[in-house]
């Protein structure tokens, strides 16, 4: 690639001579066509599972939302247990369901909880390993053993009882008549099914998977959980002017020189004036590098003046445009083509395409973008077509960012390719997202995913991680 062919002129760039920053943007240019895949909705429980239940001891109603214990219980292995038809969804902050005890029957031995797929369907939730349950007759909490521990009040006829999973705190929690009874650490991995059990004659329980309004205010509970996390985060202190410094280096990195000048001028007149610690001095010199040239080129590209951008580059940094088959030249040529289509100069576009783009057909890495560009010609209203993304502002921005990175890479002091590609701000955001993803994947992908895009486009502060 271009840097390779030029390492004689740029012998200082030993570290990056084998990497072309342009390639990175080539991928971005294509990626911008897809607006990012939203996480698909997970299926949630809707009814009771009549196939895998301890038939014989209980009867599930035709709507599959209530159970009744019809026989007389004799021992601990004739519990009437029934699971939900789906496991509790995990990619959220909280999962919750409720039961209403219509009739506590002979002994009120009703249980509510969560069990895994292999649960023995003749036992109370909580009695066996990998299960957890809150029992009505003694108010005890059982998790994984036949012996329960003190937890909450007993519950009986006319009580509404809820079971939930808080994925942020990794806890099970239970409620009675709309109030939280307590919570217990969730140490069971894998999918968990909402489970109810009845164990004495005439016990009858209705279950609500959210079809009806819950007695417990789940939304409020979630809001409070978010608030708790938010408070913990807000208490963390930052070094003074950390945000200011990052914005400044961002403007420097991308060559937003006019903004930078206004920003610095304003920073000096605030009360008190903002000082950026001296320790940044060295790095800074590197991003001040060719600032004005980078600004000018960005402006030209953003205005669609690609020929002028080429001219400037030939003057200032000839090696960047020396190899006409480099990804940088390619992106510039594509953009020129796009600009011609934008102004409706289709004939000229065709001519330009034959001259400058045709050679990229069939070249791995370049192919898709060329095809998309040429496809613009096929539509009467290209901006409404599937390749309309090419006509958006963001496409110009990517080309401008490519040229910006290429110029940064000519700096003899530049240490590695990352310095040219990513601003400090971007590196921090990447680290944030990687940390959130990693932690979540270690938790079996449970809990809310962190979406930077969503955080930035919502009125609320950052939540979920």
């Amino acid at each position: 690639m271009s840097i390779n062919s030029n390492n004689s002129n740029n012998s200082n760039n030993n570290n990056i001579k084998n990497q072309d920053p342009g390639l990175y943007f080539l991928e971005l240019a294509r990626a911008s066509s897809s607006t990012g895949v939203e996480e698909e909705e997970e299926e949630a429980p809707t009814e009771l599972n009549t196939i895998n239940s301890s038939g014989g001891f209980l009867v599930v109603s035709p709507d599959k939302l209530s159970v009744k214990y019809t026989s007389v219980n004799l021992h601990g292995h004739d519990v009437g247990v029934v699971q939900a038809n789906k496991p509790a969804p995990v990619k959220r902050l909280v999962y919750y369901f409720e039961i209403y005890v219509k009739d506590a029957g002979a002994k009120g031995q009703i249980g509510i909880g969560f069990t895994n797929e292999t649960f023995k369907m003749r036992r109370q939730p909580g009695w066996e390993a990998n299960s957890c349950g809150y029992h009505g007759d003694d108010g005890l909490l059982y998790h994984g053993a036949g012996k329960g521990e003190a937890f909450g009040p007993t519950f009986t006829s006319n009580d509404t009882v809820g079971g939930g999973i808080n994925y942020a705190s990794e806890e099970f929690f239970f409620t009675k008549n709309g109030a939280v009874v307590g919570a217990v650490h969730k140490d069971i991995k894998g999918p968990l099914f909402p489970t109810i059990a009845v164990h004495s004659q005439n016990e009858e329980v209705l279950v609500n998977f959210g079809q009806k309004k819950f007695a417990f205010d789940v939304k409020e509970y979630e809001a409070q959980e978010r608030m708790k996390q938010q408070m913990t985060i807000e208490k963390i202190s930052l070094p003074p002017n950390a945000s200011y410094g990052l914005v400044r280096s961002y403007l420097l990195h991308y060559g937003y020189e006019d903004t930078l000048n206004s920003f610095e001028l304003a920073g000096k007149s605030t009360v008190p004036p903002i000082f950026i610690a001296q320790e940044n001095g060295f790095d800074e010199q590197d991003i001040v590098y060719a600032l004005n040239q980078r600004k000018t080129l960005r402006q030209l590209i953003r205005n669609g003046e690609i020929d002028a951008a080429f001219d400037k580059l030939r003057n200032w940094h000839p090696w960047i445009v020396q190899d006409d088959k480099s990804s940088t030249c390619f992106l510039l040529h594509c953009q020129k083509f796009i600009e011609l289509v934008r102004v409706g100069a289709l004939e000229e576009a065709v001519k330009y395409g034959r001259m400058e783009l045709a050679k990229f057909f069939g070249l791995a890495g370049f192919e898709y973008l060329v095809q998309d560009c040429v496809a613009l010609l096929a539509y009467e209203k290209p901006q409404e077509s599937s390749v309309g993304y090419l006509l958006e502002d963001s496409q110009r921005e990517i080309v401008a960012d490519t040229v910006n990175a290429m110029i940064l890479s000519t700096n003899p002091n530049v240490k590695d390719l990352h310095c040219c590609l990513h601003s400090y701000l971007e590196r921090l955001l990447r680290q944030l997202i990687a940390c959130c993803l990693e932690r979540r994947s270690m938790n079996g992908d449970q809990g809310e995913a962190f979406h930077l895009h969503r955080v930035l486009n919502s009125g609320t502060h950052a939540t979920g991680c």
Binding site: I233, V271, L425, V455
Partner: protein, 242 residues
């Protein structure tokens, strides 16, 4: 590698294994970082949100032109907001109150605490300028009635009036009220109230995200050893402790 370092490294590995912490090498971590996709528009939005919320109106204007990012608030309102903030910072509280009311009279009407703090700041400025009589009159007429309605206000008022009891205020226990930080505190309170009245968040998103980064790293520390970023201003990855 010297034997010393080999031993140290082995010990660290054993420790990591004992606490069953997953170790993520720099190479593995960098791969994960590279897989993260961040949209340029989102970063631009984050920067614009900072400029707008912190009141860098000219920079916001320039940034809109240079990056094509649309601000999430009418830029004209920033100028007004910053004028109020500046007035408080410079001690022209009366002027600030007038400006807030010009902007939206509801802000002070619905915010008794903010109004009290502005009046308190006004009293502080009178005392600072040695206008003792005027200060006393102001305290009795404007602030005392509010103190009767609210215990916290009353305590604050008493603290402020105490400034008059000292000849050398620089050495008195309530001297902090005369500090520049008191002005800044009041100024940022007004700033936040104006933003809220414009249905805009009162704080920029960037500092929250930075705090979140620190928090997320701490959370992950419990489960894994991985390259951290400890210095926000250089964003340099530091190798895991193993």
């Amino acid at each position: 590698m010297s034997l010393f370092w080999i031993v140290i490294r082995q010990l660290a590995e054993i420790e990591a294994m004992a606490t069953s912490k997953k170790v993520i090498t720099r190479e593995e971590w960098e791969k994960k970082l590279n897989d993260v996709k961040i949209r340029k528009e989102d970063m631009n939005k984050l920067v614009m949100n900072f400029l707008v919320t912190e009141g860098y109106v000219e920079a916001a204007e320039k940034f809109r032109m240079e990056s094509g990012t649309e601000p999430d608030i009418d830029l004209a309102t920033i100028t007004d907001r910053m004028a109020v903030k500046k007035a408080v910072q410079c001690g022209n509280v009366e002027d600030a109150i007038e400006k807030v009311n010009d902007l939206n009279p509801e802000i002070l009407d619905t915010n008794p605490q903010l109004f009290f703090h502005l009046q308190q700041q006004r009293l502080i400025e009178l005392i600072r300028n040695g206008k003792v009589e005027e200060a006393l009159e102001f305290a009795q007429e404007e602030l005392a009635p509010r103190g009767e309605e609210n215990q916290t206000f009353l305590e604050e008022l008493e603290r402020t009036v105490a400034l008059l009891a000292f000849e050398d205020v620089s050495n008195c226990p309530v001297g902090d009220l005369l500090d520049i930080s008191q002005r800044l505190k009041t100024a940022s309170e007004v700033n936040a109230a104006i933003l809220t009245s414009q249905s805009h968040e009162k704080d920029p998103k960037l500092p929250s995200l930075l705090k979140m980064l620190i928090w997320a790293q701490n959370q992950l520390d419990e489960k894994a050893a991985y390259p951290r970023i400890n210095n926000l201003s250089t964003a340099a990855l530091e190798d895991p402790a193993v």
